[in-house]
Symmetry: C2
Subunit: 301 residues, 2 copies
């Protein structure tokens, strides 16, 4: 396509669309206590890379689907991601006062409202997905499959399980297998979900969904190892946060177990595997997914 925009522009456009759509998707016209509405909005609008929404839309477009129809699923996954950050930041969990340079939700609205805002965002994500069928004229069956995927990958054997394992880990346990469990579930599962959701909205076949699942599992792990590496050797100015926080918090990481060089090699080989899965699946337009994989491997923040 001659009018194809650069990857940077593509990312930027999607990020802006998602932010506008998130604003619309909030229950502004509903009779909802103002403290709850404000705290939901505060964290949803606090920025971030909007990486998961990008994956939903890119996966949908790779299979020739309509990215507009994927926008609601993209917003839903960002709501789930945001709820998980609000709850993770709570005093009983990681006890963080700042995220991305802004006060965390409970520092602004208090703990009770922060807990409820997280609960509300998680629940509203399911609402946002359930409505896609009627809103965009898509069969109920693939949308119900997206609901089931999300409930599985964000639930006890998915993201919440990963967070629980991370909490248990702070009490002493830890070998590489445990770290892999945490990475896979706390971060990886929602990345896989994002790709599958986009694929399902595009009406993807089982082999296509399987390729997206493989792409997501490799990409998710590479993403998390890269995070560990950046925490160790990254540029604080670019990251917007202090490096070596993992060491100071005595959190074990990939470099801790297998060394920095082997970790970097892992990121490269996982990225290669991810790209191969997409290249071998015969997608109509795989380019953006490949660009995302390269972008994540080379990012410095």
């Amino acid at each position: 396509m001659s009018d194809r925009v650069s990857f940077q522009e593509y990312m930027q456009q999607i990020s802006e669309k998602v932010t506008a759509s998130l604003e619309d998707s909030l229950p502004h016209h509903w009779q909802v206590p103002s403290s709850l509405k404000e705290s939901m909005t505060y964290s949803l609008m606090a920025g971030g890379k909007r990486l998961r929404p990008l994956l939903v839309i890119a996966a949908c477009e790779a299979l020739g689907g309509n990215g507009e129809a994927a926008l609601d699923a993209a917003c839903a996954v960002e709501m789930v991601h945001t709820y998980s950050l609000i709850h993770d930041d709570l005093p009983a969990m990681d006890n963080d006062d700042y995220r991305r340079g802004k006060l965390t939700n409970h520092k602004v609205y208090g703990e009770a409202t922060a807990i409820l805002a997280g609960d509300a965002l998680l629940t509203h994500a399911f609402y946002t997905i359930a409505r896609i069928s009627a809103k965009h004229g898509i069969d109920a069956a693939p949308i119900l499959a997206i609901v089931q995927d999300l409930a599985e990958m964000a639930g006890p054997r998915g993201m919440v399980g990963g967070q629980a394992a991370d909490m248990e880990g702070e009490q002493g346990v830890t070998d590489l297998e445990h770290l892999q469990y945490i990475h896979q579930h706390k971060t990886g599962d929602l990345i896989i979900f994002s790709l599958l959701a986009g694929g399902r909205i595009a009406g993807g076949s089982e082999p296509e969904l399987e390729a997206l699942r493989t792409f997501g599992s490799r990409l998710g792990l590479a993403f998390q190892i890269q995070d560990d590496i950046l925490d160790l050797v990254g540029d604080e100015a670019k990251l917007g946060k202090k490096t070596q926080s993992d060491i100071k918090q005595e959190k074990v990481t990939y470099p801790y177990f297998i060394g920095l060089e082997a970790s970097q090699q892992q990121v490269e080989s996982l990225t290669r595997e991810a790209k191969a899965a997409v290249l071998n699946a015969g997608f109509q337009d795989p380019e953006r997914l490949l660009e995302i994989a390269d972008y994540l491997m080379h990012r410095d923040h």
Copy 2:
């Protein structure tokens, strides 16, 4: 039916079935951190009347549907109810140490795990519903409608909104309208959801679902006013908790606004309206729903 069991036996049978099915529905065979699994189980198995599951199954059977197929939805609503109790009991919320004579979840497992157990139960409820379609051979469309109902009635303009309004109320506000908002959403919405879910599984028509909605809204409010009355004049031994706790906690109640006698009259007239909605809808077998309405009005705990 000559082999029809008494209402007490009917309730007891459903309660036992639900408890056994909840046990099965937990992710025992999944690789889930043990702290998370144990704390989910602890609260789910802590007893309770299983009122919401009873409503799901009774509504399904009233429309001639198969109560077995409704059992999963019944379990899901109990998971949502349980998650809401775990989060409500947290120190940042109502700060309760005991519920039904047992230590609250966070007193046993710590705050972090209690927050995650709530998150996991809410998410697992959606999983349990989403699976009904494939498991019981029911079309995806009505099951997706149940997902949307739950997300709406448990979300920011439903149960979570009611809880947020209750929290705001503790800081001083309060008139009868505010109290009604709290009752309607904190308690009423999940009661309406339960009836609708049973009706949808039975393949209920729009007018039938509408009748269930009316029944639920009257019943839910009557239930809550009756709670307020019992807190004021109930028998501590039967209730299993101290009476007049609302007064001591300076919580406003129906009797506070309109007096005890008018509150009792409200319960009676709401119950009459609830029963009329069901009687006029021409359900195949409305008897159990009518018995539930009478039971709730006359209960002493």
